[in-house]
C-alpha cells in the first residue's frame, strides 16, 4: 500500500506496525512521533489528509491475548478529500501512562473528540485547551467506557440510585 510504504520510508521506526485488513490501511505509531506523523499526513501534498474523521479509543483490558499489553489504543481515522483515501493511525498506551499529545493545533475538531475520549476512557491529551468532560456531567466519577466500569453503576444527581 503506497501510503504505508511512504510512512515507513519517512518515519522508519516510529511506525511500530502496519497492516491492511478488509481494505482498511492501518499504522501503529509510537507516541513520541505522533504529532510529527499527523502533521506530515495533513500537510504532505501526496497524502493530503485534511479531514480528521474520527478520534476515539479502545480499551483492550478484556481482549483475549492482550490483557497484559498496553491497555489503551487511541485511534485516528483520517480522510483526504482531494485524494479520496483513508488512513487509520493508532497509538498504544499503558494504563498508568495514558497521555497523548493533543492534535487540536492540526484539526479544530480534535478539541471535542479528545474531550470525549477523556470523558469516556480517561486518556489525557497534553496541550488541550479545555480538558472538560463532554458527555457526562462534571460530578460523575470514573470513565464509563472502560471495561472495568460496570454498566449499571449509576451516579444520579437527584433521585434514587437504583
Amino acid at each position: 500500500m503506497p501510503i504505508l510504504a511512504e510512512l515507513q520510508r519517512r518515519f522508519g521506526d516510529a511506525i511500530v506496525e502496519t497492516h491492511e485488513q478488509h481494505g482498511d490501511v492501518t499504522a501503529v505509531v509510537a507516541r513520541d512521533a505522533l504529532l510529527t506523523v499527523l502533521a506530515h499526513c495533513r500537510d504532505d501534498a501526496a497524502l493530503a489528509f485534511d479531514v480528521l474523521m474520527d478520534l476515539t479509543a479502545v480499551d483492550y483490558l478484556k481482549f483475549p491475548g492482550r490483557e497484559d499489553g498496553p491497555r489503551f489504543e487511541v485511534v485516528y481515522h483520517l480522510y483526504s478529500i482531494a485524494r479520496n483515501h483513508r488512513l487509520r493511525l493508532k497509538v498504544r498506551l499503558d494504563e498508568d501512562d495514558a497521555r497523548v499529545p493533543s492534535a487540536v493545533a492540526l484539526w479544530p475538531i480534535a478539541n471535542w473528540l479528545e474531550r470525549e475520549v477523556w470523558d469516556m476512557f480517561g486518556v489525557r491529551f497534553e496541550g488541550h485547551p479545555d480538558p472538560r468532560r463532554l458527555l457526562m456531567y462534571e460530578e460523575f466519577v470514573g470513565h464509563p467506557l472502560r471495561k472495568d466500569y460496570p454498566i449499571n453503576r449509576r451516579q444520579p444527581l437527584i433521585g434514587p440510585a437504583s
Binding site: 485488513q21 481494505g23 482498511d24 479531514v51 474520527d54 476515539t56 480499551d59 487509520r88 484539526w107 479544530p108
Partner: protein, 457 residues
C-alpha cells in the same frame, strides 16, 4: 455616504461592537422551544450580539457504545435505530455493513437495492423534518405542517416494509428482516407524488420569500477551511462548495449504478444549506425511482406439495417431530408477516448459516433448521466474526456516518464506535454564531440539524 451594512443598520453605532463590562451571560437551553433536542449554549451577550458561546452537549447520552457491548451483534440493531432517529434505516444499514465488512461477506443484489431504497426514503424524511422544524422556528408554521404531512406518507411506506414507523430495527447482519411487500412500487409512486407536491409548495412559500431570505442569507456562515478543519461533512460541507458525498466517493451497495447529482452551493450560509437539502430530497426521490425500476425480481414461487396449513399447525407438527415432508408444505401467513416467507428471506439475506437466522419454516420444520437457529441465538454462540477491526462509512442525512467495530472473535462486539455526522457541526456552532445576534442563533441551529441521539449517543 458609505453603504451601511445590515449589522450597522440594526445596531447603530457603538452597541454590540466590543466586549464591554456589561456583558450578560445567558443560558440558552437545555430545555428550549427550538424542538431539536437538548443542548445548552452558554452565551455571553453584548446587547443582542453573541460575543462568546460555549456549547454543552451530553444531555441525551444513553450509553449506546457501552450497551452494544452487552449483547450479540444483532442485538445492537435497536440501539442503532435510536442514533439518528429521524433516519433510522441508514444507521441500521451502516452498522450491519460494518460487520459484513468484518465478516467479509457480500449481501445479495436484491438486498442492496432494498437498502438503497429504504436509505433514501429515510434521508427524505430527515430533510423534511429538518427543513420543516427550522422553518417553524422562524415562524413558518404552515411549512412544518405540510412537510410533516409528506413525512406521514413516507412513514406509511416504511411501515409497510418494516412494520414500524420510526424505530424499525429492519437491518440485519447479512441482509434485512423481510422482503418488500407486494404492491410496494405503486405505493412509492403515490407517496413520492405527494412529496413532490409538498416540496413544490414549500419552494413557492419559502425560497423567494423576503422574510425567510433576510433571516437566512449571510447568517451562520462558515468558511471552507474551517468547515474542513472541523471535519464537517454532508449538506453543510456541500453548502460551501465541496462535492464530497460518500455515495459518490466510496460507493457502496448499488450507488455506482444509479444516476444522481450531488447538489452544492458556494456560500456556506443557512440559505445555502436549505437549498442543498431541498435539492437533495429531489435527488433521493430520483434514486428511489431508479432503484425500483432496476431491482432484481422478487421471490420465485417454489413448487409445493399438499394443501396449505396455518402456521400454528405447522409449528405443532414440527414440535411433535412430524417433520417428514414438512418443508414442502405451503403455509398461509398472516399479512403482517408478508415478506418473511422462506423464498423471500432467501432473496434478501446472505446464504451463510453462521450469520443469518434460518427462515421460520426451517426452524420449526426440520432439525437442521432448529440447530442452526440455536447456534445463532444462544449465548456463547452466535455470529462470531474473526478478531479484527473495520470502519465502514455511509452517507447519513447529516454527513458521513461511520461505524468502527472491533471484534475479539466472540459473539459480542468488543467495541462499537459510531462516528456521528452531527458532532462536527455542533462543535463548530460557536464559530457560526459568534458575532451574530441572538435571533440568528435559531436558524443557524436549525440548519445544523443536530439530532440528540446521534450527537450524544
Amino acid at each position: 455616504m458609505a453603504e451601511t451594512t445590515r449589522r450597522e443598520f440594526m445596531l447603530g453605532e457603538g452597541s454590540g461592537t466590543g466586549s464591554g463590562p456589561q456583558n450578560v451571560h445567558v443560558g440558552i437551553g437545555p430545555a428550549h422551544p427550538a424542538m431539536h433536542g437538548i443542548i445548552r449554549i452558554a452565551a455571553e451577550l453584548d446587547g443582542e450580539v453573541i460575543v462568546g458561546a460555549d456549547v454543552e452537549i451530553g444531555y441525551l447520552h444513553r450509553a449506546f457504545e457501552k450497551d452494544c457491548e452487552q449483547g450479540g451483534w444483532n442485538n445492537a440493531i435497536p440501539y442503532t435505530d435510536r442514533l439518528n432517529y429521524v433516519s433510522p434505516l441508514i444507521n441500521n444499514f451502516g452498522y450491519a455493513s460494518a460487520i459484513e465488512k468484518l465478516l467479509g461477506i457480500d449481501i445479495t443484489e436484491r438486498c442492496k437495492y432494498i437498502r438503497v431504497i429504504m436509505s433514501e426514503i429515510s434521508r427524505i424524511c430527515d430533510h423534511l423534518t429538518c427543513v420543516g422544524a427550522s422553518s417553524m422556528e422562524l415562524g413558518a408554521f404552515t411549512v412544518f405542517l405540510y412537510m410533516i404531512k409528506a413525512r406521514e406518507f413516507l412513514w406509511e411506506l416504511v411501515e409497510d416494509v418494516t412494520g414500524a414507523r420510526l424505530t424499525i430495527s429492519y437491518g440485519r447482519v447479512g441482509g434485512v428482516k423481510a422482503d418488500l411487500p407486494a404492491g410496494f412500487g405503486d405505493k412509492v409512486v403515490h407517496a413520492l407524488k405527494e412529496t413532490r407536491e409538498v416540496l413544490d409548495e414549500v419552494h413557492r412559500l419559502l425560497t423567494g420569500n423576503r422574510i425567510f431570505m433576510d433571516r437566512m442569507v449571510g447568517v451562520g456562515a462558515l468558511s471552507r477551511e474551517e468547515t474542513i478543519g472541523y471535519a464537517i461533512t454532508g449538506p453543510l460541507l456541500r453548502a460551501v462548495g465541496v462535492p464530497y458525498d460518500v455515495r459518490r466517493a466510496q460507493p457502496y451497495y448499488v450507488y455506482d449504478r444509479l444516476q444522481f447529482e450531488v447538489p452544492t452551493q458556494p456560500d456556506g450560509d443557512n440559505y445555502a444549506r436549505y437549498l442543498v437539502r431541498m435539492a437533495e430530497m429531489e435527488q433521493s426521490m430520483r434514486i428511489v425511482e431508479q432503484a425500483l425500476a432496476a431491482i432484481p425480481a422478487g421471490p420465485v414461487n417454489v413448487d409445493f406439495a399438499g394443501r396449505p396449513i396455518d402456521p400454528a399447525s405447522y409449528v405443532d407438527q414440527g414440535k411433535q417431530g412430524k417433520t417428514e415432508g414438512l418443508l414442502l408444505v405451503p403455509l398461509t401467513l398472516s399479512p403482517n408477516l408478508e415478506g418473511q416467507q422462506r423464498a423471500a428471506l432467501r432473496r434478501v439475506n446472505v446464504a451463510d448459516k453462521r450469520v443469518v437466522l434460518p427462515p421460520k419454516e426451517n426452524a420449526y420444520g426440520s432439525i437442521e433448521g432448529l440447530m442452526n437457529h440455536f447456534m445463532l441465538i444462544m449465548e456463547g454462540y452466535g455470529i462470531q466474526p474473526p478478531p479484527g477491526e473495520a470502519y465502514f462509512a455511509v452517507e447519513g442525512a447529516n454527513g458521513e456516518l461511520g461505524f468502527y467495530v472491533v471484534s475479539d472473535g466472540s459473539d459480542r462486539p468488543y467495541r462499537v464506535r459510531c462516528r456521528p455526522p452531527c458532532l462536527p457541526p455542533v462543535a463548530a456552532l460557536h464559530r457560526m454564531i459568534e458575532g451574530e445576534m441572538v435571533a440568528d442563533l435559531i436558524p443557524t441551529f436549525g440548519s445544523v440539524n443536530m439530532i440528540g441521539g446521534e450527537l450524544d449517543r
